[in-house]
């Protein structure tokens, strides 16, 4: 009887494998597709310059001196330009906590690899927007 039971298990396994073949693969095309991250992931920041008051509380809160503020660079009435140095940033979130004017947020984007160290210093034109060049793979454009 043990033989027959083993045979039945063999066929159960084969049935499972056969179903598995026709399922969608679990792997995502990672560098091209976005990976789904939780909403509250502390990834790279976004700076909303309309709300910013140039109070520099984020600069004071930063424990690793990753943020530099340029108060002369004004786009609106009383805002300032922020420079984020992601070679230093530890994504602790203290700057976002320190901001009382809803001007600084984390985003769930964590893939920030660059070829040069200088490219990891996000100036005002990079930190205020989430847009980037879409990646292309086999004629499909992602993001």
């Amino acid at each position: 009887m043990g033989f027959l039971r083993n045979l039945g298990e063999v066929f159960t396994i084969l049935k499972h494998i056969f179903r598995q073949i026709f399922k969608r693969p679990f792997t995502s095309l990672y560098p091209f597709e976005d990976r789904p991250y939780p909403e509250r992931t502390r990834g790279r920041h976004i700076h909303v310059r309309q709300n910013c008051t140039a109070c520099a509380q984020c600069v004071r809160a930063c424990p690793v001196l990753a943020i530099r503020i340029d108060k002369a660079d004004k786009m609106y009435e009383k805002d300032a330009a922020l420079y984020f140095d992601y070679t230093r940033c530890i994504f602790c979130g203290l700057c976002v906590d320190a901001c009382r004017f809803d001007a600084l947020y984390h985003t769930p984007i964590v893939d920030m690899a660059e070829g040069e160290r200088e490219d990891l210093i996000y100036g005002p034109e990079k930190i205020t927007t989430l847009d980037r060049e879409p990646l292309e793979w086999r004629g499909r454009r992602f993001r």
Binding site: I13, I17, K23, P25, F26
Partner: protein, 380 residues
């Protein structure tokens, strides 16, 4: 009389007079040799060309369609197919970056493997190390000559081709054992002995399972077995034999549930550990070619060979069934965990061998006692 100096001078004049004739003779001899070679070559080339023209259909079959180029193309496809299927079974995507759906991945891999350095260990036997992988691939590719792709499209058909194919396939683990022995490494030696152990376990059940079709067809020729299934496929009479043949062939190839010879996590890569570069490529392809060969044999023995959809050519029928068999082979061989060597032997001798004989006996009794079955087999 004149002095000795004049005599010497006259002799020199004579010698000078004969000089052109001497040069001419030498040129004649060289011309004769060249013309002789030329004439001989011309005769040989004429003879060869006559042979080629007389056997042009056979040469076409041997080289292009069911022969070498077709089999190698099928091998390339099968490696891609297997890797894609493994990917799907493990919920991966498989090769996808080189070419459309990863179709050119194999060529990239082959270029990488062939361009690698060939490292021969100090303790290895050098000529055997260089010779055995090619021999393995040849031994695996030769039995494809006996596969009947159609009533016309086959290369050779002997009255004992079934026995001959098994003779060739029995040489594969011998080569594996030799490769393990000559590599001069403990792991490859253990792997070689495990390959021999696999063959020891699987060969008798496999041959017993192929006795069923041979007996029902009344022929030891693979073509004869395929021709005998014009009215009923043998899978309906010998289903257990098909299962035992499939299992025994998986054991004999040494792929997944029975991959003790090349168990990557125990002995590094079994008897292939020390092979590098192009030699590893050859052994790797030989394994896939063996799987293809067993799938083709199963189609021929149990699934009616080239019989099937009547309005399709026989070769197309065969190839469709062949692809389905490849799918079944890869699916079955990637579903289970690895067995120990003694488990393989016990499994084969305790269950596989009696089962394969049981089905043969049942088929014999059915032919004798079920009225009309023998007539159906004959094709009435």
């Amino acid at each position: 009389m004149t002095g000795g100096a004049v005599l010497q001078f006259e002799w020199f004049v004579d010698w000078l007079r004969g000089l052109p004739q001497w040069v001419f003779n030498i040129i004649e001899v060289i011309r004769g040799i060249i013309y002789g070679i030329y004439d001989w070559l011309w005769v040989v080339i004429n003879l060869l060309w006559t042979l080629v023209i007389d056997n042009i259909f056979f040469l076409f079959k041997a080289v292009i369609f069911p022969g070498l180029i077709f089999v190698v193309m099928g091998l390339i496809f099968f490696v891609w197919f297997t890797r894609k299927l493994w990917g799907r079974i493990q919920m991966r995507r498989g090769p996808m970056h080189m070419g459309k759906y990863g179709g050119v991945q194999l060529f990239a891999d082959a270029i990488k493997l062939i361009s690698k350095e060939i490292i021969i260990p100090d303790k290895a036997h050098r000529w055997a190390y260089r010779f055995l992988p090619s021999l393995l691939l040849v031994v695996v590719l030769v039995p494809f000559a006996f596969i009947p792709w159609d009533t016309v499209w086959f290369i050779a058909d002997l009255s004992v081709s079934l026995v001959l194919v098994f003779a060739f396939l029995a040489a594969v683990p011998v080569i594996a054992l030799l490769a393990g022995w000559i590599s001069g490494s403990k792991y490859s030696l253990i792997g070689g002995f495990r390959a021999a152990n696999n063959q020891f376990a699987a060969e008798i059940p496999m041959i017993m399972s192929s006795v069923g079709p041979a007996m029902l067809a009344g022929s030891l020729s693979i073509m004869g077995i395929a021709l005998a299934q014009s009215s009923v496929w043998f899978i309906f009479l010998l289903p257990i034999n098909f299962a035992t043949f499939l299992t025994a062939s998986i054991i004999s190839v040494g792929v997944f549930p029975f991959d003790a010879p090349v168990a990557d996590s125990e002995i590094i890569f079994g008897w292939r550990t020390e092979f590098s570069g192009v030699y590893f490529t050859l052994t790797y392809f030989a394994e896939f070619a063996e799987q293809m060969l067993y799938s083709a044999l199963m189609v021929t023995f149990f699934f009616g060979g080239f019989y099937g959809v009547p309005w399709l050519p026989g070769a197309v029928n065969f190839i469709i069934k062949f692809l389905i068999m490849l799918f079944v082979f890869v699916t079955v061989s990637s579903s289970f965990h690895r067995l120990r060597q003694d488990q393989i032997v016990r499994y084969c001798w305790k269950y596989l061998l009696p089962l394969s004989m049981l089905n043969v006996i049942i088929a014999m009794l059915a032919i004798v006692y079920v009225p009309g079955l023998a007539l159906l087999l004959v094709g009435g």
